[in-house]
């Protein structure tokens, strides 16, 4: 039986078969298409719909971009050149780009905001990227005063005297530190305030009359366009983070009074639309200030936008604190650190790292919200677009103008969100 069985094996292959290519449906593009685009009936329908969508967009946008017209002084001229064909009339951007960027800022002074913008990039570089030399941070500290002087003009003394306040604060701190740490902190806070309130103003007048070094003063109401969006946005971003952190700490505080005032402030600001706060800034602020005070509308808006963003920031940072394990607080206490040292060295760095996405989202929201200033009469890009569309030359233009504004906002906001992803990746310490 077994013999016969062994004989039935007629043939045993002794050599390997040459390797064959896998079936064509299992490799390369065909497989990818089958798996990703046509894996089932629903998927096929979705793919077809998607392709239809892309085709529709291509058919409409392709010729529109292809027939772009840059040299036209008005919409009717554009239409004459196009003769009924579809085409973008970018002439409006060529005609009005300076307004969209600078508003009604005097043309011969365009170099000032331009330089301020590029200096801003230099000032931000050491904060954003590690590779930049740390010494540039000194420039970052001086930059706000320099930018103020470049944008608003006037004599150089006002920003210098304002800067001197901080220097005085620093000297007061170092001088009083020999007495006691508490006195140093109080001195560092009180001395600059006294300086600004009582000495800076008269000194500015004296110096400006004696040595009028400066450039032409430009009123806030001549500001506009993306310049004003960036001024409000960047100032708001820079100020709202520290205020937001303080509010978040206040909300977590053991002191009931501080805690409830912070809670009340945060919930109130978060509960009302920004537009009502801006109207408060433009309509009501004069009621709340001593009679006769009249301060700059741009400054008012910056204060309101900052407070608004700070309340949101406080909630984001609080979320970061809440995500920290209890052990981190206990460890900080066990090391014998006092409140501020524990916050600065152990808790805040971790809480901020966790809340980076939320913080950057708040920044993006703030930057987008700067468009609302149009309702209180500041000519931001949207306000200017209304003015341009009211001009008889450009009456009826929609996509080109709004497309340009949208593109500019998109670049800024998308850039911020990409940076936040980069930062998250860089600070990631867990090994997953």
């Amino acid at each position: 039986m077994s013999d016969t069985h062994s004989n039935t094996v007629a043939y045993v292959r002794k050599t390997m078969l040459t390797e064959q290519a896998p079936p064509s449906s299992q490799v390369g593009a065909v497989r990818w298409v089958r798996e990703n685009l046509f894996s089932g009936p629903l998927n096929t329908i979705l793919t077809l719909l998607g392709v239809l969508c892309v085709y529709y967009l291509g058919v409409h946008l392709g010729p529109w971009f292809a027939n772009s017209i840059w040299n036209a002084g008005s919409l009717s001229e554009c239409r004459e050149i196009l003769q009924g064909a579809s085409g973008a009339c970018w002439g409006v951007i060529k005609d009005r780009w300076h307004q969209l960027l600078f508003g009604f800022y005097p043309q011969d002074a365009y170099w000032r905001p331009t330089i301020a913008f590029f200096l801003m990039i230099v000032a931000m570089a050491p904060i954003l990227f590690d590779a930049v030399p740390r010494k540039v941070l000194w420039f970052s500290a001086v930059f706000p005063f320099l930018a103020f002087w470049l944008l608003w003009g006037g004599t150089i003394w006002l920003p210098l005297l304002a800067l001197a306040g901080f220097v005085i604060g620093y000297f007061a701190f170092t001088a009083l530190q020999k007495v006691s740490a508490l006195a140093a902190v109080i001195g560092a806070m009180v001395a600059p305030v006294l300086w600004w309130l009582f000495f800076a103003g008269p000194l500015d007048e004296v110096l400006s009359n004696a040595l009028p070094i400066g450039i032409k003063h430009i009123q806030s109401d001549e500001f506009g366009g993306f310049m004003i969006s960036i001024i409000i946005g960047v100032t708001g971003i820079a100020l709202s983070l520290p205020i937001g952190i303080l509010l978040a700490l206040g909300r977590q505080s053991d002191m009931p009074l501080v805690k409830w005032i912070c809670v009340g402030f945060i919930e109130f600001i978060r509960g009302v639309p920004l537009i009502t706060l801006l109207f408060t800034a433009s309509l009501l602020l004069n009621y709340f200030l001593p009679p006769g005070t009249n301060f700059d509308i741009v400054l008012r808006v910056i204060i309101m936008v900052t407070l608004f963003a700070a309340a949101y920031m406080a909630e984001v940072v609080r979320g970061g604190f809440a995500a920290l394990p209890r052990g981190q607080y206990e460890a900080a206490d066990a090391l014998g650190l006092d409140y501020w040292k524990a916050q600065r060295l152990i808790l805040l760095p971790q809480a901020l790292k966790i809340s980076i996405p939320g913080i950057v989202n708040t920044f993006i929201g703030l930057f987008k919200d700067t468009t609302l200033v149009v309702f209180i009469g500041i000519l931001d890009p949207i306000g200017l677009s209304n003015a341009i569309r009211a001009d008889s030359n450009w009456n009826g233009i929609v996509w080109e103008l709004y497309g340009f504004i949208a593109l500019c906002f998109f670049i800024f906001c998308f850039g911020m969100s990409r940076y936040s992803q980069y930062l998250e990746g860089k600070l990631k310490t867990d090994h997953r």
């Binding site: 798996e35 990703n36 685009l37 894996s39 998927n43 979705l46 793919t47 719909l49 998607g50 392709v51 969508c53 892309v54 508490l182 053991d254 002191m255 009931p256 009074l257 501080v258 005032i261 919930e267 109130f268 978060r270 509960g271 009302v272 639309p273 920004l274 537009i275 009502t276 109207f279 408060t280 309509l283 009501l284 004069n286 009621y287 709340f288 200030l289 001593p290 009679p291 993006i364 987008k368 919200d369 468009t371 609302l372 149009v374 309702f375 949207i382 677009s385 569309r389 009826g396 929609v398 709004y402 504004i405 949208a406 906002f409 998109f410 906001c413 998308f414 969100s417």
Partner: protein, 417 residues
């Protein structure tokens, strides 16, 4: 020689207010309170001085006075003879109806876009990414203005629909007309109407009230049927066939009620210079609705995506290992867990929608800000009172929404023992 510690509290020295942590927080709070009181008093004092200088007082009598302006969209009766208080309510209702419409449509759009962005289909997921990124990174105000400009400038005027060689035609079998004055839709009419039901401030159409009751009754009947079927299944092992009964319970009472009230649709018709009949949606409302939907939909899509991604892969693998089909896995395992992550940010998006309705100022939609904070404020010159009332109204709406959120959060919170 025992190291006895000094008994605390035996002698109170003034320096302990600063250096003893037990008393320091008290000191800080007293100083804080002192500064806050001074600041507050300063503001109030300034306000009183300023008001006195302008010869104004603070009072809310103006709310009872005749408003004297018209509101073009009103959900309750309002004429220009009504009071400012009533204008306030009309504006509030306009805000709320816009917010509710936008919340519903943004949720639908956001869920679809969020799920599709996770799809394995390359084209669809990329298209959805583009949608989300474009709408998230461009200001809402710009979208509102663009959509409004398109609606008012690119859509045809009503007279383009006229005559033999009309340049425009109505959509959906001649029932919907999109014009530069607004969109005209078929409107519901009841031949044997049951009249209105007066509730003092508002009057509600009894027809809709009846329909609502019928729907509630149908749903309750349907659930009773399902419960019954489940009971039978548990007792005998066989689930009775219920689909035709459920269909009947859902559809029949509704149909009977509609026929009894003589329900039919009234189609818009071109008469004179404009369309008449049917329902009419203003361009301002449509622009706000569309813009809020598209903008917030992009944010909700991200929340939904994050919520689904937050559920670990092991959960779906476990469900498959138990033999659940993909759709049962989604319904029974993934969604209940994902919802816990999705709902809180979703509700804060609803909050954002409600606050963002105030951007209606850009298109002239008569919301709360336009009535109380706009025309009433300008007519009466009562900036302080109007702003205060308007902020309080928004604040109360926000607090109600976040209160609902807290209740929900507590109910679905993981119970850790």
């Amino acid at each position: 020689m025992a190291t006895t510690s000094e008994t605390p509290g035996s002698s109170f020295r003034l320096s302990m207010l600063l250096y003893d942590t037990r008393y320091r927080s008290l000191t800080i709070q007293v100083i804080f309170m002192f500064l806050m009181t001074i600041g507050f008093w300063w503001l109030v004092d300034n306000t009183l001085v300023n008001l006195a200088q302008k010869g104004k007082d603070i009072g809310f009598d103006f709310l009872g006075a005749r408003a004297g302006y018209d509101i073009n969209q009103r959900l309750v009766d309002y004429t220009n003879d009504s009071t400012h208080a009533r204008a306030w309510i009309v504006g509030l209702l306009n805000t709320l109806i816009l917010a509710v419409c936008a919340c519903v449509s943004a949720t639908v759009l956001g869920v679809i876009a969020g799920v599709l962005r996770l799809s394995k289909n390359w084209i669809v997921s990329k298209l959805m990414s583009i949608y989300v990124e474009i709408f998230r990174n461009v200001p809402l105000l710009l979208w509102i203005i663009v959509i409004f400009a398109v609606l008012t400038e690119i859509t045809p005027a009503p007279n383009a629909f006229r005559g033999e060689n009309a340049t425009s035609s109505m959509l959906l079998f001649d029932t919907v007309a999109v014009t530069n004055r607004g969109t005209y839709l078929p409107g519901p009419l009841f031949e044997r109407s049951l009249g209105d039901f007066d509730l003092g401030i508002v009057s509600v159409s009894t027809n809709y009230l009846v329909l609502l009751l019928v729907i509630i009754g149908s749903v309750m009947g349907y659930r009773a049927l399902q419960r019954n079927a489940t009971a039978v299944q548990e007792a005998t092992g066989d689930r009775p066939v219920t689909w035709w009964k459920s269909a009947l319970i859902i559809v029949a009472p509704m149909l009977i009620a509609l026929i009894a009230m003589g329900f039919h649709l009234e189609y818009p018709e071109l008469k004179g210079f404009n369309f008449t009949g049917g329902s009419y949606l203003r361009n301002s409302f449509i622009a706000m609705w569309l813009a809020l939907t598209l903008y917030t939909g992009a944010f909700i899509a991200e929340n939904v995506r994050a919520g689904i991604l937050a559920i670990s892969k092991g959960q779906s693998e476990a469900a498959f290992a138990l033999g659940l089909r993909p759709n049962r896995t989604m319904n029974l395992v993934i969604l209940p867990q994902a919802l816990r992550v999705i709902i809180p940010p979703l509700i804060s998006q609803y909050l954002n929608i409600t606050k963002n309705t105030s951007l209606a100022i850009a298109v002239g939609y008569m919301d709360l800000r336009a009535t109380l904070g706009g025309i009433t404020l300008n007519q009466t010159g009562r900036e302080l009172e109007c702003m205060l009332l308007m902020m309080m109204t928004y604040l109360i709406i926000s607090l109600i929404i976040s209160g609902v959120m807290n209740i929900y959060n507590n109910s679905v919170k993981l119970k850790e023992r």
